[in-house]
Protein backbone atom coordinates (compact mmCIF):
# COMPACT_ATOMS: atom_id res chain seq x y z
CA UNK A 1 0.00 0.00 0.00
CA UNK A 2 1.42 3.39 -0.89
CA UNK A 3 1.69 6.32 1.43
CA UNK A 4 -1.16 8.12 -0.32
CA UNK A 5 -3.54 5.25 0.25
CA UNK A 6 -2.82 5.25 3.95
CA UNK A 7 -3.05 9.02 4.17
CA UNK A 8 -6.43 9.38 2.52
CA UNK A 9 -9.73 8.24 3.85
CA UNK A 10 -9.67 9.84 7.30
CA UNK A 11 -13.02 11.43 6.63
CA UNK A 12 -11.33 13.25 3.74
CA UNK A 13 -9.77 15.59 6.28
CA UNK A 14 -6.22 16.04 5.08
CA UNK A 15 -3.47 14.32 3.22
CA UNK A 16 -0.77 16.73 4.31
CA UNK A 17 1.38 15.49 7.11
CA UNK A 18 1.70 18.34 9.56
CA UNK A 19 4.84 18.44 11.62
CA UNK A 20 4.53 19.78 15.18
CA UNK A 21 8.06 21.15 14.89
CA UNK A 22 7.24 22.97 11.63
CA UNK A 23 4.09 24.50 13.11
CA UNK A 24 6.04 25.62 16.20
CA UNK A 25 8.90 27.01 14.11
CA UNK A 26 6.61 29.14 11.95
CA UNK A 27 4.23 30.24 14.72
CA UNK A 28 5.46 33.84 14.96
CA UNK A 29 5.09 34.78 11.26
CA UNK A 30 1.92 32.70 10.97
CA UNK A 31 0.07 33.72 14.12
CA UNK A 32 1.36 37.26 14.64
CA UNK A 33 1.93 38.34 11.05
CA UNK A 34 5.61 39.04 11.57
CA UNK A 35 7.64 39.75 8.44
CA UNK A 36 11.07 41.23 7.92
CA UNK A 37 12.38 44.70 7.15
CA UNK A 38 15.65 45.26 5.37
CA UNK A 39 18.07 47.58 7.16
CA UNK A 40 19.77 48.38 3.82
CA UNK A 41 16.93 49.08 1.37
CA UNK A 42 14.15 49.61 3.88
CA UNK A 43 11.71 47.30 2.09
CA UNK A 44 9.68 44.66 3.88
CA UNK A 45 8.74 41.13 2.87
CA UNK A 46 6.63 38.14 3.89
CA UNK A 47 7.08 35.25 4.54
CA UNK A 48 10.33 36.05 6.32
CA UNK A 49 13.47 35.01 4.46
CA UNK A 50 17.07 34.85 5.68
CA UNK A 51 18.09 37.38 3.00
CA UNK A 52 16.18 40.39 1.66
CA UNK A 53 14.44 39.20 -1.56
CA UNK A 54 14.59 42.75 -2.93
CA UNK A 55 18.25 43.75 -2.47
CA UNK A 56 20.06 40.65 -1.13
CA UNK A 57 21.10 42.20 2.18
CA UNK A 58 21.46 39.95 5.21
CA UNK A 59 20.86 42.85 7.60
CA UNK A 60 17.20 42.35 8.51
CA UNK A 61 14.95 42.86 11.49
CA UNK A 62 11.64 41.23 12.35
CA UNK A 63 8.64 43.56 12.19
CA UNK A 64 4.99 43.14 13.06
CA UNK A 65 3.16 43.97 9.84
CA UNK A 66 -0.05 46.01 9.65
CA UNK A 67 -3.17 43.85 9.92
CA UNK A 68 -5.16 45.65 7.25
CA UNK A 69 -4.71 45.78 3.52
CA UNK A 70 -6.21 45.64 0.05
CA UNK A 71 -6.81 42.64 -2.24
CA UNK A 72 -4.30 43.01 -5.09
CA UNK A 73 -5.64 39.96 -6.89
CA UNK A 74 -7.47 36.75 -5.97
CA UNK A 75 -8.68 33.40 -7.22
CA UNK A 76 -11.60 31.15 -6.38
CA UNK A 77 -10.31 27.59 -6.43
CA UNK A 78 -12.89 24.93 -7.35
CA UNK A 79 -10.52 22.00 -7.94
CA UNK A 80 -9.06 21.90 -4.46
CA UNK A 81 -6.21 19.76 -3.20
CA UNK A 82 -6.47 17.01 -0.61
CA UNK A 83 -7.38 18.47 2.74
CA UNK A 84 -9.57 21.25 1.32
CA UNK A 85 -12.46 19.25 -0.13
CA UNK A 86 -14.78 20.34 2.67
CA UNK A 87 -14.15 24.02 2.04
CA UNK A 88 -14.43 24.27 -1.76
CA UNK A 89 -14.66 26.75 -3.36
CA UNK A 90 -11.53 28.06 -1.66
CA UNK A 91 -10.63 31.74 -2.06
CA UNK A 92 -6.94 32.67 -2.08
CA UNK A 93 -5.79 36.28 -2.28
CA UNK A 94 -2.61 38.27 -2.57
CA UNK A 95 -3.14 41.13 -0.16
CA UNK A 96 -1.14 44.38 -0.17
CA UNK A 97 -0.89 45.33 3.47
CA UNK A 98 -1.10 49.03 4.25
CA UNK A 99 2.73 49.26 4.37
CA UNK A 100 3.02 47.71 0.88
CA UNK A 101 4.09 44.21 1.98
CA UNK A 102 2.40 41.48 -0.07
CA UNK A 103 0.94 38.46 1.73
CA UNK A 104 -0.75 35.33 0.34
CA UNK A 105 -3.58 33.84 2.42
CA UNK A 106 -7.13 32.53 2.15
CA UNK A 107 -10.11 34.90 2.41
CA UNK A 108 -12.65 33.89 5.01
CA UNK A 109 -16.15 35.00 6.14
CA UNK A 110 -16.93 36.03 2.58
CA UNK A 111 -19.11 34.82 -0.29
CA UNK A 112 -16.72 33.99 -3.17
CA UNK A 113 -18.95 35.91 -5.58
CA UNK A 114 -18.59 39.01 -3.41
CA UNK A 115 -14.78 39.22 -3.63
CA UNK A 116 -13.19 41.87 -5.81
CA UNK A 117 -9.81 43.42 -6.50
CA UNK A 118 -9.29 46.47 -4.30
CA UNK A 119 -11.46 45.10 -1.50
CA UNK A 120 -10.34 46.13 2.01
CA UNK A 121 -9.49 43.21 4.33
CA UNK A 122 -8.05 42.55 7.77
CA UNK A 123 -5.92 39.70 9.07
CA UNK A 124 -7.37 37.08 11.38
CA UNK A 125 -6.36 33.65 12.67
CA UNK A 126 -8.16 30.56 11.38
CA UNK A 127 -7.90 26.79 11.42
CA UNK A 128 -6.36 25.97 8.04
CA UNK A 129 -5.90 22.22 7.94
CA UNK A 130 -5.88 19.08 10.03
CA UNK A 131 -3.47 16.18 9.74
CA UNK A 132 -5.57 13.19 8.76
CA UNK A 133 -3.52 10.70 10.75
CA UNK A 134 -2.60 12.54 13.96
CA UNK A 135 -5.41 15.09 14.23
CA UNK A 136 -2.82 17.84 14.62
CA UNK A 137 -4.39 21.18 13.68
CA UNK A 138 -2.55 23.77 11.63
CA UNK A 139 -3.70 27.32 12.36
CA UNK A 140 -2.73 30.21 10.16
CA UNK A 141 -3.44 33.51 8.61
CA UNK A 142 -6.68 34.37 6.83
CA UNK A 143 -8.13 37.70 5.73
CA UNK A 144 -11.74 38.79 6.19
CA UNK A 145 -13.61 41.80 4.80
CA UNK A 146 -12.81 44.93 6.78
CA UNK A 147 -15.60 46.98 8.25
CA UNK A 148 -14.01 50.43 8.05
CA UNK A 149 -14.92 52.50 11.12
CA UNK A 150 -16.92 55.56 10.11
CA UNK A 151 -15.07 58.80 10.38
CA UNK A 152 -15.38 60.27 13.86
CA UNK A 153 -16.80 57.09 15.34
CA UNK A 154 -15.37 56.24 18.74
CA UNK A 155 -13.31 53.08 19.17
Amino acid sequence: MTEHQTRRGEGGVSAMRLSPAMLWRTRIPRYRLVGRECLECGRRHYPPRPVCPHCGSRRLRDVVLPRTGTVETYTVIYTVMEGFRDRAPHVIALVRLDDGTRVLAPLTDVDPSGVSTGMRVEATLRRIRVDGDTGLIGYGLSFRPLMEPRQGASK
Binding site: H4, M16, Y78, M81, A93
Partner: protein
Amino acid sequence: MRVYVAGVGLTRIGRLFDKGILDLAAEAAWKAIDDSGGIIPDAVVVGNMLSSSLQSQDNLGAYVAAGIGLRGRPAFKVEAACGSGGAAIYTGVSLIASGLAGSVLVVGVEKMTDFPNAVVTEALAQAADSEYELFYGATFVGLNALMMRYYMEKYGVSRDEMSAWPVLMHRNGAVNPYAQIRREITIEDVARSQVVADPIRLLDSSPIGDGAAAVLLVSEEVAKSLPEKPPVAITGAGMSVDTVELSNRETLDRIPAAAEAARKALEMAGVRPEELDVVEIHDAFTINAVLLLEELGLAPRGKAARLVAEGKFHPGDKPTANPSGGLKSRGHPVGATGVYQVVEVAMQLRGDFPGVKVPGAEKGLALNMGGDGSTVTVHILSRV
Protein backbone atom coordinates in the same frame (compact mmCIF):
# COMPACT_ATOMS: atom_id res chain seq x y z
CA MET B 1 29.27 26.17 -27.75
CA ARG B 2 27.99 23.28 -29.79
CA VAL B 3 26.41 20.21 -28.21
CA TYR B 4 25.02 18.07 -30.99
CA VAL B 5 21.62 16.42 -30.98
CA ALA B 6 22.51 12.95 -32.30
CA GLY B 7 19.20 11.25 -31.58
CA VAL B 8 15.67 11.91 -30.34
CA GLY B 9 12.77 9.82 -29.10
CA LEU B 10 9.21 10.48 -27.90
CA THR B 11 6.28 8.51 -26.59
CA ARG B 12 2.73 9.56 -27.23
CA ILE B 13 1.37 11.25 -24.10
CA GLY B 14 -1.76 9.91 -22.47
CA ARG B 15 -3.37 8.14 -19.56
CA LEU B 16 -1.18 5.09 -20.02
CA PHE B 17 -2.39 2.83 -17.25
CA ASP B 18 -0.47 -0.15 -18.62
CA LYS B 19 2.91 1.59 -18.52
CA GLY B 20 5.20 2.44 -15.59
CA ILE B 21 8.17 4.81 -15.38
CA LEU B 22 10.58 2.24 -16.79
CA ASP B 23 8.34 1.29 -19.71
CA LEU B 24 7.98 4.93 -20.70
CA ALA B 25 11.65 5.81 -20.19
CA ALA B 26 12.84 2.73 -22.10
CA GLU B 27 10.60 3.48 -25.08
CA ALA B 28 11.83 7.07 -25.48
CA ALA B 29 15.46 6.33 -24.59
CA TRP B 30 15.94 3.47 -27.01
CA LYS B 31 14.22 5.40 -29.80
CA ALA B 32 16.81 8.16 -29.22
CA ILE B 33 19.70 5.68 -29.11
CA ASP B 34 18.48 3.95 -32.27
CA ASP B 35 17.94 7.33 -33.94
CA SER B 36 21.58 8.21 -33.18
CA GLY B 37 22.80 5.07 -34.92
CA GLY B 38 23.30 3.16 -31.69
CA ILE B 39 25.43 5.47 -29.52
CA ILE B 40 25.59 4.03 -25.99
CA PRO B 41 25.82 7.13 -23.76
CA ASP B 42 28.62 7.88 -21.27
CA ALA B 43 26.07 9.24 -18.78
CA VAL B 44 22.32 9.40 -18.17
CA VAL B 45 20.38 12.39 -16.81
CA VAL B 46 16.75 11.83 -15.82
CA GLY B 47 14.33 14.76 -15.75
CA ASN B 48 11.46 14.03 -13.39
CA MET B 49 9.38 15.82 -10.78
CA LEU B 50 6.91 13.48 -9.12
CA SER B 51 8.52 10.05 -8.77
CA SER B 52 9.08 10.62 -5.06
CA SER B 53 5.59 11.89 -4.21
CA LEU B 54 3.45 9.80 -6.60
CA GLN B 55 5.49 6.68 -7.33
CA SER B 56 7.26 6.42 -3.94
CA GLN B 57 10.41 6.01 -6.04
CA ASP B 58 13.64 7.83 -5.30
CA ASN B 59 17.14 7.02 -6.55
CA LEU B 60 15.74 7.60 -10.01
CA GLY B 61 19.06 7.91 -11.84
CA ALA B 62 20.06 4.36 -11.02
CA TYR B 63 16.48 3.08 -11.26
CA VAL B 64 15.97 4.39 -14.77
CA ALA B 65 19.48 3.98 -16.20
CA ALA B 66 20.02 0.44 -14.94
CA GLY B 67 16.36 -0.43 -15.55
CA ILE B 68 16.60 0.41 -19.24
CA GLY B 69 19.91 -1.44 -19.67
CA LEU B 70 22.44 1.34 -19.08
CA ARG B 71 24.17 0.45 -15.82
CA GLY B 72 27.86 1.03 -15.15
CA ARG B 73 27.89 4.77 -15.80
CA PRO B 74 26.94 8.02 -14.02
CA ALA B 75 23.20 8.65 -13.78
CA PHE B 76 21.07 10.94 -11.67
CA LYS B 77 17.73 12.71 -11.51
CA VAL B 78 17.38 16.45 -11.96
CA GLU B 79 14.33 18.01 -10.34
CA ALA B 80 13.02 21.53 -10.91
CA ALA B 81 9.25 20.93 -10.68
CA CYS B 82 7.63 21.35 -14.12
CA GLY B 83 10.99 22.63 -15.32
CA SER B 84 12.79 19.37 -14.55
CA GLY B 85 13.14 18.39 -18.21
CA GLY B 86 14.77 21.66 -19.22
CA ALA B 87 17.04 21.54 -16.18
CA ALA B 88 18.01 17.95 -17.13
CA ILE B 89 18.94 19.13 -20.64
CA TYR B 90 20.94 21.99 -19.10
CA THR B 91 22.77 19.44 -16.94
CA GLY B 92 23.39 17.14 -19.92
CA VAL B 93 24.79 20.05 -21.91
CA SER B 94 27.01 20.95 -18.93
CA LEU B 95 28.40 17.41 -18.70
CA ILE B 96 29.44 17.56 -22.34
CA ALA B 97 30.69 21.15 -22.27
CA SER B 98 32.82 20.32 -19.22
CA GLY B 99 34.38 17.33 -20.95
CA LEU B 100 33.16 14.90 -18.29
CA ALA B 101 31.15 13.02 -20.91
CA GLY B 102 31.30 12.71 -24.68
CA SER B 103 27.70 11.55 -24.96
CA VAL B 104 24.76 11.98 -22.59
CA LEU B 105 21.28 10.52 -22.74
CA VAL B 106 18.77 12.95 -21.26
CA VAL B 107 15.46 11.27 -20.61
CA GLY B 108 12.46 13.12 -19.21
CA VAL B 109 9.81 10.84 -17.79
CA GLU B 110 6.66 11.39 -15.76
CA LYS B 111 3.95 9.05 -14.52
CA MET B 112 0.99 11.10 -13.26
CA THR B 113 -2.18 9.09 -13.73
CA ASP B 114 -1.99 6.47 -10.99
CA PHE B 115 -3.94 8.63 -8.52
CA PRO B 116 -7.08 10.81 -8.54
CA ASN B 117 -6.77 14.48 -9.46
CA ALA B 118 -6.87 15.80 -5.88
CA VAL B 119 -3.76 13.76 -5.03
CA VAL B 120 -1.96 14.82 -8.21
CA THR B 121 -3.01 18.44 -7.58
CA GLU B 122 -1.42 18.34 -4.15
CA ALA B 123 1.76 16.74 -5.48
CA LEU B 124 2.06 19.42 -8.18
CA ALA B 125 1.49 22.11 -5.55
CA GLN B 126 4.83 21.11 -4.03
CA ALA B 127 6.33 23.30 -6.77
CA ALA B 128 5.09 26.20 -4.65
CA ASP B 129 6.22 27.24 -1.16
CA SER B 130 5.22 24.38 1.11
CA GLU B 131 4.93 26.32 4.37
CA TYR B 132 3.29 29.51 3.09
CA GLU B 133 1.42 28.59 -0.12
CA LEU B 134 0.66 24.86 -0.19
CA PHE B 135 -0.18 24.95 3.54
CA TYR B 136 -2.99 27.42 2.80
CA GLY B 137 -4.50 25.32 0.01
CA ALA B 138 -3.09 27.48 -2.79
CA THR B 139 -2.99 24.97 -5.64
CA PHE B 140 -0.59 25.41 -8.51
CA VAL B 141 -3.50 26.35 -10.79
CA GLY B 142 -4.63 28.82 -8.14
CA LEU B 143 -1.26 30.59 -8.06
CA ASN B 144 -1.30 30.93 -11.85
CA ALA B 145 -4.87 32.19 -11.62
CA LEU B 146 -3.65 35.02 -9.38
CA MET B 147 -1.24 36.07 -12.14
CA MET B 148 -3.90 35.69 -14.85
CA ARG B 149 -6.48 37.89 -13.11
CA TYR B 150 -3.83 40.50 -12.34
CA TYR B 151 -2.71 40.58 -15.98
CA MET B 152 -6.21 40.73 -17.46
CA GLU B 153 -7.30 43.51 -15.11
CA LYS B 154 -4.10 45.54 -15.51
CA TYR B 155 -4.11 45.48 -19.32
CA GLY B 156 -7.85 45.18 -19.92
CA VAL B 157 -7.51 41.88 -21.77
CA SER B 158 -10.76 39.98 -22.36
CA ARG B 159 -11.56 36.33 -21.79
CA ASP B 160 -11.94 35.73 -25.53
CA GLU B 161 -8.60 37.37 -26.31
CA MET B 162 -6.89 35.03 -23.83
CA SER B 163 -8.75 32.07 -25.37
CA ALA B 164 -7.05 32.57 -28.74
CA TRP B 165 -3.98 30.80 -27.35
CA PRO B 166 -5.58 27.45 -26.34
CA VAL B 167 -7.59 27.45 -29.58
CA LEU B 168 -4.34 27.82 -31.57
CA MET B 169 -2.64 25.13 -29.48
CA HIS B 170 -5.40 22.61 -30.12
CA ARG B 171 -5.31 23.36 -33.85
CA ASN B 172 -1.54 22.70 -33.90
CA GLY B 173 -1.75 19.68 -31.62
CA ALA B 174 -4.57 18.06 -33.59
CA VAL B 175 -2.05 16.84 -36.19
CA ASN B 176 0.78 15.92 -33.77
CA PRO B 177 0.80 12.11 -33.46
CA TYR B 178 2.49 12.37 -30.03
CA ALA B 179 -0.08 14.80 -28.58
CA GLN B 180 -2.34 13.82 -25.72
CA ILE B 181 -5.38 15.76 -26.97
CA ARG B 182 -5.75 15.78 -30.75
CA ARG B 183 -8.96 17.71 -31.04
CA GLU B 184 -9.70 21.27 -32.15
CA ILE B 185 -11.60 23.57 -29.83
CA THR B 186 -13.35 26.94 -30.24
CA ILE B 187 -13.34 30.18 -28.26
CA GLU B 188 -16.84 29.23 -27.11
CA ASP B 189 -15.58 25.86 -25.84
CA VAL B 190 -13.01 27.66 -23.68
CA ALA B 191 -15.61 30.09 -22.30
CA ARG B 192 -17.96 27.20 -21.47
CA SER B 193 -15.37 24.91 -19.90
CA GLN B 194 -15.31 24.25 -16.18
CA VAL B 195 -13.69 26.84 -13.91
CA VAL B 196 -10.71 25.22 -12.18
CA ALA B 197 -9.44 28.28 -10.31
CA ASP B 198 -11.12 31.47 -11.49
CA PRO B 199 -10.23 32.91 -14.03
CA ILE B 200 -8.42 29.74 -15.21
CA ARG B 201 -10.76 27.33 -16.96
CA LEU B 202 -10.17 23.72 -17.84
CA LEU B 203 -9.33 24.65 -21.44
CA ASP B 204 -6.68 27.13 -20.21
CA SER B 205 -4.93 24.23 -18.50
CA SER B 206 -2.61 21.53 -19.70
CA PRO B 207 -3.90 17.99 -19.19
CA ILE B 208 -2.51 15.43 -16.74
CA GLY B 209 -0.72 12.65 -18.57
CA ASP B 210 2.10 10.13 -18.70
CA GLY B 211 4.96 10.34 -21.14
CA ALA B 212 8.67 10.27 -21.82
CA ALA B 213 11.04 12.06 -24.17
CA ALA B 214 14.72 11.48 -24.75
CA VAL B 215 17.56 13.19 -26.50
CA LEU B 216 21.06 11.89 -27.13
CA LEU B 217 23.57 14.73 -26.85
CA VAL B 218 27.15 14.40 -28.09
CA SER B 219 30.30 16.52 -28.10
CA GLU B 220 31.91 18.00 -31.21
CA GLU B 221 34.50 15.22 -31.10
CA VAL B 222 31.94 12.41 -30.97
CA ALA B 223 29.82 14.17 -33.62
CA LYS B 224 32.80 14.23 -36.00
CA SER B 225 33.38 10.50 -35.53
CA LEU B 226 29.84 9.62 -36.66
CA PRO B 227 29.17 8.43 -40.24
CA GLU B 228 27.00 11.52 -40.66
CA LYS B 229 27.48 14.60 -38.52
CA PRO B 230 24.18 15.53 -36.80
CA PRO B 231 22.64 18.60 -38.50
CA VAL B 232 21.34 20.22 -35.29
CA ALA B 233 23.13 21.43 -32.17
CA ILE B 234 22.29 23.19 -28.93
CA THR B 235 24.24 26.42 -29.27
CA GLY B 236 22.96 28.33 -26.26
CA ALA B 237 21.84 27.42 -22.76
CA GLY B 238 20.49 29.73 -20.08
CA MET B 239 18.88 29.21 -16.72
CA SER B 240 17.61 31.50 -14.00
CA VAL B 241 15.53 31.33 -10.83
CA ASP B 242 13.24 33.64 -8.87
CA THR B 243 11.48 33.47 -5.49
CA VAL B 244 9.33 30.38 -5.21
CA GLU B 245 6.77 32.34 -3.19
CA LEU B 246 4.70 34.72 -5.31
CA SER B 247 4.34 37.26 -2.50
CA ASN B 248 7.99 38.34 -2.67
CA ARG B 249 8.04 38.93 -6.45
CA GLU B 250 8.46 42.46 -7.70
CA THR B 251 5.29 42.31 -9.80
CA LEU B 252 2.77 39.66 -10.88
CA ASP B 253 2.76 40.40 -14.61
CA ARG B 254 6.42 39.60 -15.16
CA ILE B 255 8.55 36.44 -15.23
CA PRO B 256 12.04 37.95 -14.83
CA ALA B 257 13.70 34.51 -14.67
CA ALA B 258 12.49 33.87 -18.25
CA ALA B 259 13.93 37.13 -19.55
CA GLU B 260 17.25 36.40 -17.86
CA ALA B 261 17.48 32.75 -19.00
CA ALA B 262 16.61 33.79 -22.56
CA ARG B 263 19.15 36.62 -22.55
CA LYS B 264 21.92 34.23 -21.48
CA ALA B 265 21.00 31.53 -24.00
CA LEU B 266 20.55 33.91 -26.94
CA GLU B 267 23.81 35.69 -26.12
CA MET B 268 25.69 32.40 -25.92
CA ALA B 269 24.26 31.32 -29.27
CA GLY B 270 24.74 34.73 -30.88
CA VAL B 271 21.09 34.75 -31.93
CA ARG B 272 18.65 37.68 -31.80
CA PRO B 273 14.99 36.99 -30.85
CA GLU B 274 13.79 38.16 -34.28
CA GLU B 275 15.96 35.50 -35.95
CA LEU B 276 14.01 32.64 -34.31
CA ASP B 277 11.95 30.54 -36.72
CA VAL B 278 10.27 28.37 -34.11
CA VAL B 279 9.77 28.51 -30.35
CA GLU B 280 8.36 25.90 -28.00
CA ILE B 281 7.32 27.68 -24.82
CA HIS B 282 5.87 26.58 -21.51
CA ASP B 283 2.09 27.04 -21.59
CA ALA B 284 0.96 24.95 -18.63
CA PHE B 285 -1.72 27.67 -18.45
CA THR B 286 -2.73 30.30 -21.00
CA ILE B 287 -1.29 33.06 -18.81
CA ASN B 288 2.17 31.41 -18.89
CA ALA B 289 2.30 31.57 -22.69
CA VAL B 290 1.14 35.18 -22.78
CA LEU B 291 3.70 36.35 -20.21
CA LEU B 292 6.53 34.32 -21.75
CA LEU B 293 5.96 35.74 -25.26
CA GLU B 294 6.35 39.16 -23.65
CA GLU B 295 9.46 38.18 -21.66
CA LEU B 296 11.08 36.84 -24.85
CA GLY B 297 10.57 40.25 -26.41
CA LEU B 298 8.27 38.78 -29.07
CA ALA B 299 5.30 40.93 -27.95
CA PRO B 300 4.97 44.27 -26.13
CA ARG B 301 3.77 44.16 -22.50
CA GLY B 302 0.06 43.57 -22.25
CA LYS B 303 -0.26 42.78 -25.95
CA ALA B 304 0.67 39.10 -26.43
CA ALA B 305 -2.84 37.66 -26.10
CA ARG B 306 -4.22 40.21 -28.57
CA LEU B 307 -1.44 39.48 -31.05
CA VAL B 308 -2.23 35.76 -30.91
CA ALA B 309 -5.90 36.57 -31.50
CA GLU B 310 -4.85 38.63 -34.55
CA GLY B 311 -2.92 35.70 -36.05
CA LYS B 312 0.62 36.35 -34.80
CA PHE B 313 2.70 33.23 -33.90
CA HIS B 314 0.42 30.98 -36.00
CA PRO B 315 1.92 28.47 -38.47
CA GLY B 316 3.56 30.44 -41.29
CA ASP B 317 4.49 33.34 -38.99
CA LYS B 318 8.01 33.96 -37.67
CA PRO B 319 8.45 32.69 -35.10
CA THR B 320 5.86 29.96 -35.12
CA ALA B 321 4.96 29.30 -31.49
CA ASN B 322 4.39 25.77 -30.25
CA PRO B 323 3.73 23.94 -33.54
CA SER B 324 3.60 20.82 -31.33
CA GLY B 325 0.40 22.05 -29.71
CA GLY B 326 2.30 23.04 -26.59
CA LEU B 327 1.65 21.80 -23.10
CA LYS B 328 -2.02 22.57 -23.66
CA SER B 329 -2.60 20.03 -26.43
CA ARG B 330 0.58 17.95 -26.80
CA GLY B 331 0.39 17.46 -23.05
CA HIS B 332 2.47 18.13 -19.95
CA PRO B 333 3.95 15.04 -18.28
CA VAL B 334 5.65 17.57 -16.02
CA GLY B 335 9.26 16.43 -15.68
CA ALA B 336 9.37 15.23 -19.30
CA THR B 337 7.99 18.41 -20.90
CA GLY B 338 11.29 20.28 -21.22
CA VAL B 339 12.78 17.33 -23.08
CA TYR B 340 9.73 17.08 -25.39
CA GLN B 341 10.29 20.74 -26.30
CA VAL B 342 13.98 20.27 -27.19
CA VAL B 343 13.15 17.14 -29.22
CA GLU B 344 10.36 18.99 -31.06
CA VAL B 345 12.55 21.98 -31.91
CA ALA B 346 15.36 19.64 -33.04
CA MET B 347 12.92 17.77 -35.31
CA GLN B 348 11.64 21.06 -36.76
CA LEU B 349 15.22 22.01 -37.67
CA ARG B 350 15.87 18.52 -39.07
CA GLY B 351 12.63 18.78 -41.02
CA ASP B 352 11.14 15.55 -39.72
CA PHE B 353 8.61 16.73 -37.12
CA PRO B 354 5.48 14.75 -37.93
CA GLY B 355 2.91 17.49 -37.09
CA VAL B 356 2.68 21.19 -38.02
CA LYS B 357 5.97 21.94 -39.77
CA VAL B 358 8.05 25.11 -39.83
CA PRO B 359 9.60 24.79 -43.32
CA GLY B 360 13.24 25.79 -43.61
CA ALA B 361 13.62 26.50 -39.90
CA GLU B 362 17.24 27.31 -39.00
CA LYS B 363 17.00 28.57 -35.43
CA GLY B 364 14.69 27.57 -32.59
CA LEU B 365 14.16 28.11 -28.89
CA ALA B 366 12.83 25.85 -26.15
CA LEU B 367 11.66 27.42 -22.88
CA ASN B 368 10.72 25.26 -19.92
CA MET B 369 9.48 26.61 -16.60
CA GLY B 370 9.22 25.21 -13.09
CA GLY B 371 6.76 26.68 -10.61
CA ASP B 372 4.93 29.87 -11.52
CA GLY B 373 8.08 31.47 -12.92
CA SER B 374 10.59 30.41 -10.28
CA THR B 375 12.83 28.21 -12.48
CA VAL B 376 13.30 28.81 -16.19
CA THR B 377 15.64 27.14 -18.66
CA VAL B 378 16.07 28.27 -22.25
CA HIS B 379 17.93 26.38 -24.97
CA ILE B 380 18.73 27.66 -28.43
CA LEU B 381 18.99 25.08 -31.18
CA SER B 382 20.55 25.83 -34.56
CA ARG B 383 21.17 24.04 -37.82
CA VAL B 384 24.93 23.70 -38.04
